[in-house]
């Protein structure tokens, strides 16, 4: 017990202080402010995202998971990841579409109620990326379902994704407005 306590107390502090991020923070917060405004003005403050991994290497998912952490915290902008395509406004599809996932992706698209929007996240999702032309893939996302927005990068950084969500919000806002 004593040794354990001693070890805890003597281990150097490895947690990075928030001040270390200060410079990037302000840059990100500026984007965040714009995002909040867009989501509020065009989406009435609510965007639900369903993530679909259609054959990705999991890097895109890791970066998107980061969106919900304490640093990026997109929840404060009214953005939420949901558990079912039925609940979603936007599908974020990552990775090249593997042949076995093509049908699943199509069904996910069918299962999402209108108005909806599809985002291809990462180079793989745009055209297959490094797997382009491989026998195991059915192509990029746009070869399977209609894509509205593409985000480049392999994987795209959370900041890139957030910047893209700006466009998503605008486009989805137009779709919603068109129905009113």
């Amino acid at each position: 017990m004593y040794r354990l306590l001693k070890k805890i107390l003597t281990t150097p502090d490895t947690v990075m202080r928030r001040s270390a991020f200060a410079a990037r923070d302000s840059e990100f917060e500026a984007i965040g402010e714009r995002l909040r405004e867009t989501v509020f003005s065009s989406l009435k403050g609510s965007l639900a995202i369903r993530e679909v991994a259609a054959g990705s290497s999991n890097t895109e998912e890791l970066e998107q998971t980061a969106l919900c952490n304490c640093y990026y915290d997109v929840e404060r902008f009214g953005i939420r990841f949901v558990a079912s395509p039925r609940h979603a406004d936007a599908l974020f599809v990552s990775g090249p579409v593997a042949r076995n996932m093509a049908e699943a992706l199509r069904r996910t698209y069918e299962a999402t109620p209108e108005p909806k929007i599809v985002v291809a996240v990462g180079d793989g999702a745009i055209d297959g990326g490094i797997f382009k032309g491989s026998y195991g893939i059915a192509g990029g996302v746009k070869d399977v379902i209609p894509v509205d927005i593409e985000i480049t990068g392999d994987p795209p950084s959370p900041q890139a994704v957030i910047t893209a969500i700006l466009a998503v919000a605008e486009k989805l806002g137009q779709k919603r407005a068109a129905r009113m």
Partner: protein, 678 residues
């Protein structure tokens, strides 16, 4: 009109039953099977209608009636004494309502048996069965009563084994007959003791002299009556015939057996413990409460483990009889503790639940029957999605399911509410042992309600919802008369719930009539709880309907323009097959596992692998969940062994040697001589 019914009602009932039974045999003898079936059911329905009229007359207009036919029948003094008091009328009403619905349902149900069985005998025993149930409740004489009681048992035995081509039904019938004769043996003993003490078969004499009997004899008689009648009612551990016999019978007979026949046990228990021996003692009340608590909780747990739809319903009868026992036991306790107002309240609860259970259990058996008839199986795992093919049946089953789960605004809730109230009252007022027992009763009732709801979500979901687990392409809705039978009961389930404030005065009158001579204090109002707040079922119903309507209107205004796209079920992208749906067994498995200490489930798993060596890929997996039959293992088997053993011991004196027997005779004569000379 009233006089006419009062005078000739009883005659008309038995005339119709006799007519139905006779015509059924005659037509069948001449080969007109279809006509025989239809006429027998039609006559049974007409007789039941007369029964309902007569019961209504007694309850609302004429008051108790008694008849006496001065024939001696060659067996002792004139035994044909009938008495229709309000309690009997109440039970006649229950029997008649279920009789009408079951007979209507039955008319079109016969086509499933046409050609494979002779139908004449069925019509005969069907009429005899309902007639003897009515006779049981109106007999005012223990001789006549036992005759009717046995008639009821035997008639229903023949109905149980009607589908005799299946060996299982024969053994179920045998078990049923055995337990019912065992129960009857206790009753014979009880009535013989009473006869020995009073010198009369007459119920009136028994009632009059009951108080003067020695306490020990009273208790022996009550113990025998409790054993005998609760074996008919199906209280655990005397219930083992019930899940075997009820499913074996055709569905409308199951409805009658489960809905009303087992209630004759309740009827006679009320007669004995409230009417004949009103000072039975607190301990009898507490024993009955404990029996009720055990039966209700275990009954619903066994029901959860079933996937045979009719066995499931039969176990729910065990549960509901347990709930009635809770009310009855509370009532006996209060009466013995000189709290007649609360006693009457509890008795009302028991009576109300009796008729409610008759309504919704008959409804559930009839709708289950319509499912079984069209799919040809009782296994719930083979149903699914039937709501699209049998929409009305599904709707009626849903009403029955909601009612039996005790959910407002249907009738089951009202009587469970009253039972709760009387149990709470006991917790507040009785001495310590009573408080604890009532608390146990209330707790078991609390859990029972939730578990029953779980069980009926499972049943309704597995039978009617989602996609078919097996293709039943030819499945179709039942005919109009069958639906009418179910619809009648469903409407009554709703009426007895929503209009509870109009129904309770009638039940109150029945309960009070039993105590009218001795007691005072009329309970303030049965729908009144202790603190003075009362239950307004119509208020609840209006509030719920208002809430649903408001919500519907608001959504229509806000979201009326939306589109609804029909698509496939969200399956996470994988092809969804019906094998991925939850099964009835799987649904209840978690609850069974929680109660594994009580239920002792045994899980058998058979796994076939693609590659036996690596065991990675399962080809086929079969899981079978079953419960250890504790009653056979720990009660009946030892009892049978004991009987066999003692029989073997007794055989030793039977040597088969003539001179030994002569010696026995000689010794016996000597003994008798000594006894006579002293």
């Amino acid at each position: 009109m009233v006089d006419f019914i009062a005078q000739f009602g009883l005659f008309a009932i038995f005339a119709f039953f006799t007519g139905g039974a006779a015509l059924s045999l005659i037509y069948s003898a001449y080969g007109a099977e279809r006509e025989s079936w239809i006429l027998s059911h039609l006559f049974a329905a007409l007789a039941s209608l007369c029964g309902l009229l007569l019961a209504g007359t007694v309850l609302f207009a004429s008051g108790p009636l008694s008849f006496h036919l001065p024939f001696s029948l060659g067996i002792g003094p004139d035994i044909l004494r009938f008495q229709i008091d309000t309690l009997a009328a109440f039970f006649i009403a229950a029997i008649s309502i279920v009789g009408i619905a079951a007979s209507l349902f039955g008319i079109q149900y016969g086509k499933h048996f046409l050609g494979s069985y002779r139908l004449g005998g069925f019509g005969f025993f069907y009429n005899l069965f309902i007639a003897s149930m009515i006779l049981v409740v109106i007999a005012n004489n223990s001789f006549l009563f036992l005759l009717a009681w046995e008639g009821m048992a035997i008639a229903s035995y023949f109905l149980v084994i009607f589908e005799r081509h299946e060996a299982k039904n024969i053994s179920a019938g045998m078990l049923y007959l055995l337990i019912s004769q065992l129960g009857a043996a206790f009753l014979f003993a009880a009535f013989l003791i009473l006869y020995a003490l009073t010198g009369s078969w007459d119920f009136d004499t028994i009632r009059a002299s009951a108080g003067e009997m020695p306490l020990l004899v009273q208790n022996i008689v009550l113990a025998l009556a409790l054993l005998g009648f609760s074996s008919k009612a199906g209280i655990i551990p005397l219930h083992i015939w019930l899940p075997e016999a009820h499913p074996a019978a055709p569905s409308h007979v199951s409805a009658l057996m489960s809905g009303v026949m087992i209630k004759t046990g309740i009827f006679m228990l009320i007669r004995f413990f409230v009417d004949f021996f009103p000072t039975a003692g607190i301990s009898w009340g507490l024993i009955i409460i404990v029996l009720g608590a055990v039966s209700s909780l275990l009954g619903v747990l066994y029901a959860l483990s079933e996937h045979d739809i009719k066995r499931l319903l039969a176990f729910h009868s065990v549960e509901n009889i347990g709930i009635i026992f809770l009310g009855l036991g509370a009532s006996i306790t209060f009466f013995s503790a000189a709290m007649p107002a609360l006693g009457t309240l509890a008795l009302i609860a028991a009576l109300y639940h009796t008729i409610n259970h008759a309504l919704f259990k008959a409804l559930l058996f009839l709708s289950a029957g319509s499912v079984v008839a069209t799919t040809g199986t009782r296994n719930m795992e083979e149903y699914g999605g039937l709501i699209k093919k049998l929409p009305y049946t599904a709707f009626f089953f849903l009403i029955g399911a909601v009612a039996i789960s005790g959910l407002p605004p249907f009738n089951g809730f009202v009587s469970e509410w009253m039972t709760f109230q009387s149990l709470f009252a006991g917790i507040g007022t009785l001495p310590i042992i009573g408080k604890i027992t009532f608390l146990v009763g209330a707790s078991s009732l609390a859990f029972t309600g939730g578990l029953a709801a779980a069980c009926f979500v499972k049943a309704f979901g597995a039978i009617f919802l989602a996609r078919p687990r097996h293709e039943h392409a030819h499945a179709h809705e039942s005919g109009f008369l069958s639906l009418a039978g179910m619809g009648l009961l469903a409407a009554l389930c709703a009426l007895f719930g929503v209009a509870a404030s109009a129904i309770t005065p009638i039940v109150t009158r029945v309960a009070e009539s039993l105590r009218a001579a001795s007691d005072i204090a009329v309970p303030s109002a049965p729908l009144q709880s202790l603190g003075g707040s009362s239950l307004s079922m119509s208020g609840v119903a209006i509030a719920v309907v208002f809430g649903v309507a408001l919500c519907g209107i608001l959504v229509w205004i806000i979201a009326g323009r939306r589109k609804i796209v029909v698509s496939r079920t969200w399956d996470c992208g994988a092809p969804l097959t019906s094998r991925m749906e939850i099964t009835a067994t799987g649904f209840s498995r978690s609850i069974i596992m929680v109660f594994r200490g009580l239920l002792q489930p045994s899980v058998q798993t058979d796994v076939e692998y693609h590659d036996v060596e690596t065991r990675y890929f399962t080809k086929k997996k079969k899981v079978e969940l079953s419960l250890t039959d504790m009653y056979h293992a720990y009660l009946y088997s030892p009892a049978i062994t004991l009987v066999e053993h003692s029989a073997r011991q007794a055989r030793r004196i039977q040597t088969g040697n003539l001179s030994t027997y002569l010696l026995y005779i000689f010794l016996t004569t000597l003994l008798l001589l000594f006894w006579a000379l002293q």
